[in-house]
């Protein structure tokens, strides 16, 4: 690595002096070539699709036009979708903010017990794919669910609130996203110096006044950034509105784009592209505001988080614990259990009695329906390959980005973040546009096979691995490497004996994250799959659309099991790393 800098400095001189070594010149050319190839790959895979999408939204039969946008603005459907999107996104963001901030404050500041477990329980809501959470809530609150049974016992006419409504979508989305706010604000709260609060108390302010006038204002940048993160996630979310909204004709921007493309009308792609550009612009603006906010709060990077509790709950501890745990159980575990119990029934209308208990649904999806089995295989292969490719590319790039933070490397990082920043449905559409006919008039069959899914997954999830790689490399002082080199280690030995053993926990954690995210992916695959390349998420979606609730709940339960295994693997890696004394 150290050579690159020097050789670029020597570059102008090699042209001048004829005598310079030809070997060196070859090396220089190789480096230049590698750099050009890298730049080309970044442009083709990450930048070009977005440009093509934007271009298509303006392309008419005779040159550039605003027709597609004008048409959209004249449609009632568009305006009602926009209204729904706004209501759902704002509603669920507010809901997440309130829930997330409350949980973060309690975990960060009070002496409530079992914080570690509480932390995991909160995260569970986000770890579960949104469609699994949706299915568990719709089965929990459905006509055959536990709530309905309970209400019937009270009075025969009582029925539960329907999840297939705006309220239902807002509720599930809020529950799914509040862990994001929680994670974000937890750190912010812990970094507020307790002296500031003590000073307010010493100055005569009571507890509530201190929270209102000192803690919350100081946490505001973090809260806003967390809120924007949820805003982006809600815009991006496809699973929840697709499962809960589509059956009752509530559409949001992401589902509308999906319906346009699936509908395959004459100008479907162009209309989808214009919708995508609008959704994408909203997402990019949100990301920019968030980035600016976070850049301002970088000063707090050096403040060590303060993990000691600041408020003793006293007598309130037990009741508050009961409320928190009750809420978390009700929000995740109970609906999940309801979903599992549904999947064990012989038929949809029956209660779960020993006579009705059956494993037939599982037998069907695993052994009798080849498409399901193929979907599981597809998803496993897709996420496995994506993880491996991202591991190699992501770590290699992260290493370059940390050790040589040149402008080119920073720009490349920004470009690789684009597919993940854009809503999944927008990104998926841009993939179709580019890979259907990579060169006009030539269709190599990438679209319609697994290949496009591989490309899309790798492009979308690469940034996750790059980020975790960058974090790992940042923690590793450059002198560790230099000590190895002075000790005589060449590149191979340096990596195998020093760098990889030290980085492995962090890198593997990132890799598993990529694996789990890819395994349960729905949005991108919903638009890109073809017969034979369906994924687990798509299969559950199809079962649900066809009304096969028993099969969709059974497959979802299996997914929960797989995630559980993955999560346990993650914990094992971290535990193993902690025992070895590394920072994971």
């Amino acid at each position: 690595m150290e050579n690159t800098n020097a050789s670029t400095i020597a570059l102008p001189k090699t042209g001048k002096g004829r005598k310079s070594l030809s070997g060196l010149r070859k090396l220089l050319n190789l480096r230049l070539l590698a750099r050009l190839l890298g730049a080309a790959a970044v442009l083709i895979f990450f930048v070009y699709p977005i440009l093509k999408l934007i271009l298509l939204s303006f392309q008419g039969e005779h040159g550039l036009t605003l027709d597609h946008y004008a048409n959209l603005l004249q449609q009632d459907r568009f305006w009602s979708t926009l209204r729904n999107t706004a209501v759902i996104v704002i509603g669920s963001t507010v809901f997440s903010l309130v829930l997330g901030t409350a949980f973060a404050w309690i975990v960060a500041y009070t002496d409530i017990r079992y914080k570690g477990l509480l932390h995991m329980a909160v995260l569970l809501c986000f770890i579960l794919p949104s469609y699994v959470l949706t299915l568990s809530w719709s089965s929990f609150m459905g006509a055959q669910g536990w709530v309905a049974q309970g209400l019937r016992m009270i009075h025969a006419d009582l029925t539960p609130w329907s999840m297939y409504s705006m309220g239902g979508i807002i509720f599930v989305m809020g529950i799914h996203h509040f862990p994001l706010v929680y994670l974000f604000t937890l750190d912010v709260f812990r970094k507020i110096p307790r002296d500031l609060e003590w000073a307010a108390r010493a100055g005569g302010a009571g507890r509530l006044k201190t929270i209102r006038q000192i803690t919350l204002p100081l946490a505001l940048p973090g809260l806003t950034a967390g809120g924007l993160l949820v805003f982006l996630a809600s815009l991006d979310n496809f699973g929840i509105p697709a499962f809960l909204g589509s059956p009752v004709n509530i559409s949001v921007l992401s589902t509308l784009i999906y319906e346009e493309i699936i509908g395959f009308g004459p100008s479907a792609f162009a209309r989808g592209a214009s919708l995508s550009v609008m959704l994408g612009v909203a997402a990019v603006i949100g990301s920019l505001i968030q980035w600016i906010l976070l850049r301002k709060s970088h000063a707090s990077d050096t403040i060590q988080p303060d993990h000691a509790p600041r408020y003793a709950l006293g007598k309130m501890r037990k009741p508050l614990s009961a409320v928190l745990w009750g809420f978390l159980l009700l929000v995740t575990v109970v609906p999940l259990a309801s979903m599992v119990s549904m999947s064990l029934k012989r038929a949809y209308g029956l209660g779960l009695t020993p006579a009705n208990f059956t494993l037939d649904n599982y037998r069907y999806i695993l052994f009798e329906n080849e498409r399901v089995w193929q979907a599981i295989q597809n998803s496993l292969v897709l996420s496995g390959v994506t993880m491996l490719v991202c591991l190699v590319l992501g770590c290699g790039f992260a290493y370059m980005r940390v050790r040589k933070p040149t402008r080119f490397n920073k720009a490349a990082e920004l470009a690789t973040a684009v597919p993940y920043t854009l809503p999944g449905i927008v990104f998926a559409l841009s993939m179709i546009l580019v890979w259907m006919e990579p060169i006009p008039g030539w269709n190599p069959g990438i679209y319609g096979s697994m290949t496009i899914l591989f490309i899309a997954y790798i492009c979308r999830f690469l940034i996750l691995q790059i980020r975790s790689g960058i974090t790992s490399f940042m923690q590793l002082d450059a002198s560790m490497e230099e000590a190895a080199r002075v000790s005589g280690a060449g590149a191979w030995r340096k990596w195998t004996a020093i760098l990889l053993p030290l980085l492995l926990p962090g890198i593997l954690t990132g890799g598993l994250l990529v694996f789990l995210t890819a395994l349960t992916e729905l949005t991108v695959s919903a638009l890109l799959y073809a017969s034979g390349s369906q994924t687990i998420g798509v299969t559950i979606f199809s079962f649900e659309q066809a009304g096969n609730t028993l099969y969709s709940t059974a497959l979802s339960s299996l997914i929960v099991l797989l995630i559980g295994i993955g999560g346990a693997g993650l914990l094992l890696v971290q535990r193993w790393a902690a025992r070895k004394g590394f920072k994971a």
């Binding site: 150290e2 050579n3 800098n5 020097a6 400095i9 020597a10 001189k13 310079s20 070594l21 060196l24 002082d477 002198s479 560790m480 230099e482 000590a483 190895a484 080199r485 002075v486 000790s487 005589g488 280690a489 060449g490 030995r493 004996a497 020093i498 053993p501 030290l502 070895k580 004394g581 590394f582």
Partner: protein, 349 residues
Amino acid sequence: MSIEIKHVSKSFGSFEALKDIQLTIQDGEFVAILGPSGCGKTTLLRILAGFEQPTSGEVRMEGRVVAGEHTLLPPEKRRIGMVFQSFALWPHMNVTEHIRFPIRTHKATPARIKGQEEERIRQILELTGLSHLAARMPHELSGGQKQRVAIARALAPEPSLLLMDEPLSSLDAMLRMDMRREIQQVHRRTRSAIVYVTHDQGEALAMADRIVVMKDGRIEQAGTPQDIYLRPETEFVAKFVSKSNLVQGSWSGNLFTPEGSNTAWNGDGIADYFKASGLYPVRPDQFLLQPDGTEGIPGEVVNVQFQGKEFHYDIRSDERNWEVISPVALRLHEKVRLNLADSAEPLGA
């Protein structure tokens, strides 16, 4: 190993870190590179290690060009050991493994050492006083022990050059004193050349055979510790190394008359630079404090710090402040005259 640094310059973008450095290091010599932060001393060390390439000029080790404009022998192919400021111990290896790593990895490790690896490890552990800690992991060691491991690792393959980058700066004051002794001992027993980078003039004076004082990417003065301390050649060296006061006055031949006094000081051993610019460097301990009314620069005691065997005074005369170290006890605001302790005799006799 003899090392020649010829006209070495190094720029980072528009910043010139090193400007035309010329330096020769003899076999077995202990050279300290001394200077404030940002003077280029670490860059010079990293060029010697092979982590940086000079922008112009070249570095020769035993006659062979190891770094120049178009060549760069990477660190792993040079026979060097290096001790880092942050120790740079590998968290996943114990003490023995740290010592074994360079013995096995370095291609230049002499065959007699490679052949008797365990014996060499035992020997190095003993030399650095780590025998009882052989199986410890880095996080189980104290600061001083970590530093010893770093030195042990650097010494293990018997390098012909040992580079040390502020190795004592992350240790506390007491420990630094002990480690100075140990580094001297290591140097006496191994006889390998050492290039030692520091910003602490005490360390450099105490250990080095030769000191190279650097400022703003240039060598200000190079010489033995006594030379540097007693006979500074530039204002910077006088101030940075011996904390000298620069007295203004007039020279006539070899005699110096400070401004506002009628005494005359002998100029033997004072560098031409000072004679040309009407200055006389006086170390705090060189001043003689005499009662008011005698010859010398008149002044008033404005601050006193008792330090045990001596007093540290701030003496004000007109607009100037002099730092004086003296065993004579004086009260605050007392009027005194400053003269040179051995003004009658030639210096350095």
